[in-house]
């Protein structure tokens, strides 16, 4: 927990009003972002992302399963976040349950869209093997190792990087199976299909302090927030999901301003992430 004196609180709020934060950043500037891919060899895809001192690891595992009856032409994706006690002593035991659930739900809302699958950032139709019978189940597991503010953005970036790194094995379907039986499938060990991540959105969290909003808040800044809005935006500039946290109400016009600010920031963030992911993959291969 962060304890701030009254003087420090005024300093943070006053600085933000003048577009100057405690570490010298401007309101809409991110801390340095580092991406490493392929950190978990036994997973289908993985990534480790560091924004400032916040560090998260995401792994993607693919297993064969059955598609749901409501959507036989789509695979299943589940996102589960765990906050390790190494990040914060308060996360020991069940201490981080509420935060983990909060983050998992926010990410599911931002990336997976509605229950019907409409508006999802991740294309689940590419995961189906045999419609109605066999599909890929993607398990996206995130682990927060070090928490220094802005966990949601870091997890969103890590999921995007891990999905870029994910290879789904090619599946050969045994011919001649009748439509009633469970067909035999041969999962290839050699050939992999790269997951298409061009539609995966990034998440931008805008934290409102006083009259202004900032991006990539540190824990000190987060403790002073009145409310925070997390918006997920894809490459085309479309909003894929919105989550609001914090007890103070926001005027609807302010939310629209925040969305357009997030769109503006998202272009730079997506470009930065893509170049980091590309260089991480290149390093991984060498």
């Amino acid at each position: 927990m962060v304890g701030l004196s009254l003087g420090e609180q005024c300093f943070i709020e006053g600085g933000i009003a003048q577009d100057l934060r405690c570490d010298g950043r401007r309101r809409l500037t991110y801390r340095p972002i580092h991406v490493e891919t392929g950190v978990i060899p036994q997973a289908n895809g993985s990534a480790r992302v560091r924004i400032g001192a916040t560090e998260v690891i995401v792994s993607v595992k693919a297993e064969l399963g059955k598609p749901s009856l409501m959507q036989p032409d789509k695979g299943n994706v589940s996102i589960y976040i765990d906050c390790s006690s190494t990040a914060e002593p308060a996360f020991e035991g069940r201490g981080a349950d509420w935060l983990s659930a909060d983050l998992s739900n926010a990410l599911q809302r931002c990336l997976l869209g509605a229950k019907s699958g409409a508006g999802a950032g991740i294309d689940r139709s590419s995961l189906v093997v045999i419609e109605g019978k066999i599909c890929w189940d993607l398990y996206i597991d995130g682990l927060v190792i070090s928490s220094d503010g802005n966990l949601l953005d870091a997890l969103g970036a890590a999921i995007k990087a891990a999905l870029s790194n994910t290879g789904i094995p090619k599946v050969q379907i045994a011919a001649g199976a009748s439509s009633d039986e469970q067909p035999e499938v041969d999962v290839s060990d050699e050939e992999f299909m790269q997951f298409d991540t061009s539609g995966v959105p990034v998440i931008i969290t805008l934290t409102k302090i006083g009259k202004h909003y900032i991006v990539d808040a540190t824990p000190e800044e987060e403790s002073q927030m009145s409310s925070a809005v997390s918006i997920s935006i894809n490459r085309q500039g479309h909003v894929c999901g919105v989550t609001k946290r914090g007890g103070v109400g926001i005027d609807p016009t302010v939310i629209l301003q925040m969305v357009s600010a997030a769109k503006h920031v998202s272009e730079q963030l997506i470009n930065k992430l893509d170049s980091e992911i590309a260089s991480a993959e290149a390093e991984d291969e060498s």
């Binding site: 390790s84 190494t86 002593p89 020991e92």
Partner: protein, 151 residues
């Protein structure tokens, strides 16, 4: 013995931290302390209270596992083993009425996680500057066809 890699100071927020790799087994340890005791009833007037939590990440083993946090018997047992080991080697009488927390997280499990955890914990304590009698190291050993092996 498999190839060993270690890195100190991985978690900047912690007082001390380390990542320890032994072959494909990868473990991260973070130490918070000495700090004020959270639970006054456990405070000891002549020495420090050492607490440990061991947990495995969902993706650490080959098959993805959904573990119950804090309720797993194996985790509780290993937490106890690490705590007793470190308690024996720290100079606890130098820090009375305080608490030291050591959190160990397994990122990749490929055998010998217990030893990797103890080694990571030692490095994390050294990084935190906590006074110890000596560095504790650990290694698992086993027999294969009556030949002793180090893991």
């Amino acid at each position: 013995m498999r190839q060993i890699r270690a890195e100190i100071g991985a978690v900047s927020k912690a007082d001390g931290s380390a990542i320890f790799e032994m072959g494909n087994t990868k473990v991260i340890a973070a130490v918070y302390g000495p700090r004020e005791v959270q639970n006054r009833s456990q405070q000891m007037s002549d020495q420090t209270l050492v607490r440990c939590e061991y947990s495995m990440a969902n993706f650490s083993t080959g098959d993805r596992m959904r573990k119950p946090k804090g309720g797993d018997r194996r985790s509780t047992e290993i937490s106890l083993v690490i705590r007793q080991t470190m308690e024996a080697c720290i100079l606890t009488h130098l820090m009375p009425r305080s608490q030291i927390d050591i959190y160990v997280q397994v990122l990749q499990a490929d055998g010998g996680t217990r030893s990797a955890c103890i080694n990571a914990a030692t490095l994390a304590f050294a990084d935190a500057g906590i006074p110890m009698r000596d560095l504790v190291t650990s290694c698992s050993a086993g027999y294969l066809h009556s030949t002793p092996l180090g893991i």
